[in-house]
Symmetry: C2
Subunit: 214 residues, 2 copies
């Protein structure tokens, strides 16, 4: 078996390459805490790593390409965590607390990643915007699928479930951004919980007085 195509590194050669690549990603993420991707210079990144500017091209075509890689790094591993959290909790207060705590923990652990996503979601680099959009749409689909497998979803159309899921996902990003701009997470956490409670309440009475006619 001479071609294991999944491992991050096969020889010491490729290991070193991944190491520099990661260093570039880390340096970029740090620089992006106080500027947008569209103003991030290639030389700026390589200088921070301590490597020649030309080395950049061995890993990324341009800074937009690096941005797309950062999107994967920031959101890739979150899919399983999010679905697992929803699956482990029923509807109601318990789930609300778990969802908010998940975001709070994520922002605490990876503030730079969270900031990057919030910032570049509507940022000036199209390819990165699209990459984030695709990831968030995927999140919404996964959340909607989880909702669909629950008794509370009885009578709900697929479209309405997706609408509800997007509401949750967008609210998460919103909350993350709010957490980043405050130093006291308390009030933000509290507001986020109440807002989710509002949505949950709406969900419960969605089928009460159908406005189906429009």
């Amino acid at each position: 078996m001479s071609h294991t195509l999944d491992g991050p590194a096969r020889g010491a050669r490729q290991a070193q390459k991944q190491k520099t690549r990661q260093a570039l990603l880390d340096a970029a993420l740090r620089l992006l805490e106080e500027q947008s991707l569209s103003s991030l210079g290639l030389r700026e990144v390589t200088r921070a790593v301590g490597v020649a500017p030309t080395a950049f091209y061995r890993h990324f075509r341009d800074t937009a390409d690096l941005g797309v890689a950062l999107v994967e790094e920031a959101l890739g591993s979150l899919h399983t965590t999010l679905v697992a959290t929803l699956a482990a909790t029923g509807d109601g207060e318990e789930r609300i607390a778990a969802a908010v705590d998940l975001i709070v923990a994520y922002v605490r652990a990876y503030p730079a990643h969270a900031r990057f996503i919030a910032r570049e979601q509507h940022g000036g680099v199209k390819r990165v915007r699209e990459a984030i959009g695709a990831q968030l749409a995927l999140f919404a689909e996964e959340v909607a699928a989880q909702f669909a497998s629950e008794p509370e979803a009885a009578g709900w159309s697929e479209d309405d479930l997706l609408m509800l899921a997007r509401m949750y996902v967008d609210h998460m990003v919103m909350t993350a951004s709010a957490l980043l701009e405050t130093d006291d997470a308390g009030p933000v956490t509290d507001t986020a919980r109440r807002q989710l409670r509002l949505v949950s309440l709406g969900r419960l009475h969605w089928l009460d007085a159908p406005v189906r006619g429009n």
Copy 2:
């Protein structure tokens, strides 16, 4: 009365100044459609206007300063419009339609302004972020005040009203951003309406089964 301190221009001299200033703002806004403020160059703006780079300093300290001016231009006139719209409609479907239509009309009329706000709300320039944050907080307060003057707000705490208002305001920005990324406003408008319906439904049942104890 030789000193009318409010008019935008007193003599032909000041009129010309305002004209160049506006030209700078317009050019900047156009350039910002495909990049972020943190990458907007001062020379880039003056070049687009057809004026010497140094002329920029007669109007703005730097591009961040120009950004703050753009925030005022984009959101300043929206306060009265928003409050008027809410005041003219009661709670329910009517208000939901009016609020969504307001956003749709705004994005149609001033797409570049809307894009700028959505982009720089979490953007890389602190002063601009703060300016937008302050404006949105003001919107939320105004909306909350309008809510407070309605019968449906009976039994609501001031904090809960503000929470609800922020939900509406943030949802408006979210919707505006979604409208900018699609060429068919139909589905986005529809989703936005349903999401507001969800929140309205939650509002109606907020006091049903109080979770006050936490």
